[in-house]
């Protein structure tokens, strides 16, 4: 049993910003995208703030080393945004990089050493081609077993999927339903890489075929489209193209302030009331394959700190690097019992108008997954939703006052869970 953790001092999010996620030219640097996100953050702080008051920069980034041939990127970013000589640190825990940067920023403010921290993440992935990106990501796998076996990250999550299917009877259509939901949400998000729903994409593809003089394709519905191997080829069975998050570039950031000064910046601070983190083995060594234990442990720590239960959560951002990851997280976070998330998925319970909206910004699937930016990207969405500032995708049910983010690194060998409250 982990100890019950607590923070010595409360912390709130008082500002947030994202760059547009997408594919930028080779000469654009990750740090340039961070400037985009930071400029948006500056306008988001209602009562304004003096950048000179930022005490430190906590930056998530997975591999500017391999993607941009740059290391020591945190001080370079501090330089770009004009906050030298403040401490600037890069955090790496695979795709949980900025989730970890965020949590560590919370801890630092809580310790009393800092009052205001800028936490964020960035990744400039598209300088490399897809094969090279796959190779970079593969570097997070076990070099003794998984890499020699020919594993890829779609393969790792596909493996979890077969375990889940065998144990609970989950069907490939359940994965597809998650993709449909997330693409719809992404179509309402101007920052999203894919700002198109699956029906939008079907229309575009049909139009494109006609334009090329080819016969106009017809699909009865989204399901038929997603079963069409030409439109949605298998990447690693049972994961197809539309089960996989996108490779793109982007940056995210939030401004964190100690509870006692949070209202100097905004009348609507969003308080961080719980945080948890755990690690795990590579996949094969785990007792259970149809579940991510680190999610359960990180969530338990966060729920206990917050003093809330999974059923209290009104909205969640979960790590859908692959559709199966979202499904498993829904169970491991305690929203649904093991094997029962599919019921909610089939009933549309996690849509914008559902009982528990999940990935309202389109998730990593449609918003995009510039890996180091994703953890804080989720926080940005919860910040907007809890403040009622999410525009066309704003969740309309009443009392959306408790949100959760779940950020996973690699196989779920790092998980960070945070719980947010509007008071």
């Amino acid at each position: 049993m982990p100890k019950k953790r607590k923070l010595g001092r409360g912390v709130a999010v008082v500002g947030a910003g994202l760059s547009k996620f997408g594919i930028y030219p080779k000469g654009v640097r990750g740090q340039d995208l961070f400037v985009e996100a930071y400029n948006e953050l500056r306008s988001s702080v209602d009562k304004g703030f003096d950048p000179g008051d930022i005490d430190a920069l906590y930056l998530g980034n997975i591999s500017s080393d391999l993607f941009e041939r740059q290391v020591h990127i945190a001080p370079a970013v501090a330089n770009r945004i004009g906050i030298v000589p403040k401490p600037a640190i890069r955090f790496e825990d695979a795709c949980a990089a900025s989730g970890v940067a965020f949590r560590e920023a919370i801890i630092a403010i809580s310790s009393g050493i800092y009052d205001i921290v800028l936490a964020g993440g960035l990744e400039k992935m598209t300088n490399l081609d897809t094969t090279q990106v796959t190779e970079v990501l593969a570097a997070a796998m076990d070099p003794d077993t998984e890499i020699p076996a020919g594993e890829t990250f779609p393969g790792i999550y596909a493996t979890i999927a077969t375990a889940h299917m065998a144990k609970y009877g989950t069907e490939v259509e359940d994965f597809m339903r998650l993709g449909i939901k997330n693409h719809y949400n992404g179509s309402l998000n101007p920052h999203a890489h894919f700002d198109a729903s699956i029906p939008d994409i079907m229309k575009r593809r049909a139009a494109s075929a006609v334009k090329k003089g080819l016969p106009e394709p017809h699909w009865a519905d989204e399901m038929e489209f997603l079963h069409d191997p030409k439109q949605n080829p298998v990447i690693a069975w049972p994961m197809r193209l539309f089960d996989c998050s996108t490779i793109c570039d982007g940056a995210s950031c939030v401004l964190l302030a100690a509870e006692d000064i949070a209202r100097n910046f905004t009348d609507k601070p969003i308080f961080v009331i719980g945080t948890g983190q755990a690690s795990d083995y590579f996949l094969a060594e785990r007792k259970e394959l149809a579940s991510i234990r680190a999610t359960k442990l990180a969530a338990r720590e966060a729920y206990e700190m917050a003093g809330v239960s999974p059923q209290d959560i009104k909205i969640a951002e979960v790590h859908d690097c692959f559709t199966i990851a979202e499904l498993v997280a829904m169970e491991d976070l305690g929203f649904y019992k093991p094997g029962e998330a599919v019921k909610a998925i089939r009933e549309g319970e996690n849509r914008l108008d559902g009982k528990l909206p999940i990935n309202t910004d389109g998730g990593l699937k449609a918003k995009g997954h510039p890996i180091g930016a994703s953890g804080v990207g989720m926080v940005v969405e919860i910040f907007k939703q809890l403040r009622g500032e999410a525009g066309p995708r704003q969740v309309k049910k009443k009392d959306v006052d408790l949100g959760l983010t779940h950020n996973a690194g690699a196989h779920g060998s790092t998980i960070v869970v945070n719980i947010f409250q509007r008071r």
């Binding site: 094969t131 796959t134 190779e135 593969a138 076990d142 070099p143 003794d144 077993t145 998984e146 890499i147 020699p148 076996a149 020919g150 594993e151 890829t152 779609p154 393969g155 790792i156 596909a158 493996t159 979890i160 999927a161 077969t162 375990a163 065998a166 080829p233 298998v234 990447i235 690693a236 069975w237 049972p238 994961m239 083995y281 590579f282 996949l283 094969a284 060594e285 394959l289």
Partner: protein
């Protein structure tokens, strides 16, 4: 003197990656069993994850087990693409639970990769090896390497 001794002590310590891979090239799949609590680590670990003991001894796996999870990969890893796999030639990898109780990720042969949905979890498998030649990378020299594989028996 001390310098060289210290190096070879680490290099030849049987519980590090170097030793695991050396045994693999001799077609031996080695785990490590904790002398204190009996927990089996595969590949070998220098410290027991169950009881934190650091006296473990190598144990050779018999090589029989069953498939407990798998995937059939169409967009191959760079290593597999080097071996000719990918879009045109899918391959299976999966997790095998050995009779000894430990699980390991490996290549799976003897299954029909054109019908991934028909591969059965629970299928008995037996230890096999694949040899292939690869270019140098940051942790391997150029040349032939041995890869762990299991063959489906039914």
């Amino acid at each position: 003197m001390a310098l060289e001794n210290k190096f070879s002590e680490v290099a030849e310590n049987k519980l590090y990656s170097l030793a695991y891979n050396k045994f693999l090239s001799e077609h031996k799949l080695m785990g490590a069993r904790c002398k204190k609590c009996g927990h089996l680590s595969l590949p070998p670990k220098p410290i027991c994850p169950e009881c934190h003991g650091n006296e473990l001894e190598l144990e050779e796996m018999k090589g029989r087990g069953k498939l407990v999870a798998y995937t059939v990969i169409a967009v191959g890893s760079p290593l597999m693409v080097e071996e000719g796999y990918g879009r045109g030639k899918h391959y299976c990898c999966g997790i095998v639970e050995l009779e000894e109780g430990a699980k390991i990720c490996a290549r799976i042969s003897g299954v029909d990769t054109s019908k991934p949905e028909q591969i059965k979890i629970g299928t008995p498998v037996e230890l096999d090896y694949v040899e292939a030649t690869h270019a140098a990378d940051p942790t391997h020299e150029e040349g032939e390497r041995t890869f762990l594989s299991f063959k489906a028996l039914s």
